[in-house]
Symmetry: C2
Subunit: 341 residues, 2 copies
């Protein structure tokens, strides 16, 4: 049906191997031969069959990404970064939504291995049995775990890309302390959540280092808008001297801001709020949210760079653990406590 090397060969009166060499940019071919072949290929509208190429070369020129749900803007950013990097390298990216469902995760991994993808980005391997994880790491296809600290990977062979959460927490704490805040609330999630835990730890370190008199009140809850709302209500009731709050993520910050307004107080006049993540909504609400920028897009890019590098190195490749820089994004939700330098 579609035109193949054989068709071009016949048309040009040469062997298919010659046609292949001409079209692949191989050097040892006569200029005139190449010119003719290229012209005929163009005229016939030849499209190489990548399936056949992949079969012989063993390379499919495709990468895959298994995430929980692309509708979560965090993953959408990641996916865009990953796809841009893949595109730049001439690779395709296949998208898989696992919902963290073990059987879907496992199904995807197998399908992808069968399709001979050259690398997989995933935000979790927890749905896979120990045997499957082992098989994956033995399979030779590079894997990078997204948004997971290096410490979280039990199996050798997996790379990781993660933001520098602890430095981010540190920056938030230092920023608030430098603004003169002395009693600071901190809203966070379960201690199971490694990234949030690191943010908390950095935050605590900052308070200790920058101002011995600053005290923090840490409260755990659900790391959602709802959770932030509930935690903030409690804090508002129980903590009278508090002038600032560091929310472990922007969602909690949004909930906190709502609770503050509903209690008849103002942000930042009465209470300063700083978040973490830098999601789009933070630029839309009033006041715009000061937060720690989490380089989601860049994480996606970095992850495929790692993948591609590994793929190029082959068996010799050794897992890489990349940590991404975070930074303060100052908007309007925090204020300086007057009377303090």
């Amino acid at each position: 049906m579609s035109v193949t090397l054989k068709d071009i060969a016949r048309e040009c009166g040469v062997d298919v191997s010659t046609v292949s060499r001409c079209l692949s940019g191989f050097n040892g071919v006569h200029k005139s031969t190449r010119a003719k072949v290229v012209a005929v290929a163009a005229r016939l509208n030849y499209r190489p069959n990548r399936l056949a190429m992949g079969l012989v070369t063993g390379k499919s020129r495709t990468l895959a990404m298994i995430i929980s749900d692309i509708r979560n803007p965090f993953f959408a950013d990641l996916a865009r970064g990953a796809e841009d990097a893949a595109f730049a390298a001439g690779y395709e990216l296949v998208l898989c939504n696992s919902d963290l469902n073990p059987s879907k995760e496992s199904f995807y991994v197998h399908s992808l291995l069968e399709k001979r993808v050259e690398g997989i980005l995933m935000n979790s391997v927890s749905g896979l049995s120990h045997e499957e994880q082992e098989e994956l790491s033995q399979s030779g296809v590079p894997i990078v775990l997204l948004n997971r600290p290096a410490s979280s990977v039990r199996l050798r062979g997996f790379s990781t890309v993660v933001s520098d959460n602890s430095t981010g927490g540190f920056i938030a704490g230092k920023y608030l302390a430098d603004l003169g805040h002395r009693v600071i609330g901190h809203l966070t999630g379960s201690v199971q959540h490694g990234n949030l835990r690191d943010r908390t730890q950095g935050f605590r370190k900052a308070l200790q280092e920058t101002d011995a008199q600053a005290t923090s009140i840490v409260i755990h809850g659900r790391h959602s808008i709802e959770g932030g709302y509930n935690m903030m209500q409690r804090l508002l009731r129980e903590q009278k001297g508090m002038t600032a709050v560091f929310a472990g993520n922007d969602a909690m910050a949004f909930g906190a801001i709502r609770a503050i307004f509903e209690a008849g107080q103002r942000v930042p006049d009465d209470i300063s709020v700083i978040g973490f993540d830098d999601v789009e909504l933070g630029t839309i609400i009033r006041p715009p949210l000061t937060t720690i920028h989490h380089p989601k897009y860049e994480m996606g890019r970095a992850a495929v760079e790692v993948l591609l590098q590994h793929s190029a190195q082959g068996e010799a490749a050794t897992p890489e653990h990349r940590m991404m820089e975070v930074k303060l994004v100052e908007r309007k939700s925090c204020r300086r406590i007057t009377g303090v330098k």
Copy 2:
């Protein structure tokens, strides 16, 4: 390196063709042979090479989606619906972000054809030259245009999936009129934008049909938060008797709400606002936005159903134009005008 049919054949003392038949679920094989082959395949951890299978069968079991940017929540919803339907059918979905850039669009289309994808979803073909569009439609791979009205497709051969925008506009207009509003503003975008145009047309029809005395003021601008904000400011200055506004999309509605608040008025007490799309932010803001639900996820699903159907029908397939149902989502941003039934 990885285990192939040949390895299993050797191990079992049978021919590779027999192994193939056993593993493919073909009927004419002896039970005991199959049992043995299946057992050995499992023991050796055999993974079929889909590239090889694809080469012989001509089917890659993959679909692709070319959209502007996955970070736009609209496309993320679409992508999720599409991927779920693809997953259910045993297909993989490759994700391409074109930014509506002609050279990227064209690059993707060619790559995908070379990879022998079995269908492509795209939200635009405007980046492709006339020749490329022609080539695409000749290629035999099913194409569905996402969120494009059937009328927009010049070339035979392309299917479309689109929401029933005109009915949506009608519902919005009727809802407001039934609530007793008599002077209603309508914020919309450029007349180039077919979907917005259809919404406007439905809206007008509703006002005519349901209440001859209702009048509408239509204003055109950018179909963004910013645009809605600007248009609303103008309306507020110029139109005194207006009690309600229909924004052509939720983004414009958000901008309008901001403008209303800044003018010292309240939603819905002074002015009722209804949007279109039903994006997540509408549930988060105060008051929660009444809007027309646009079935984004379902559009994605429907699009791959169309694709798969075509792929199954082969050459006999004829383009299909699917229109998705919209519905009113009543929240808190519209009120009844008292004294009116």
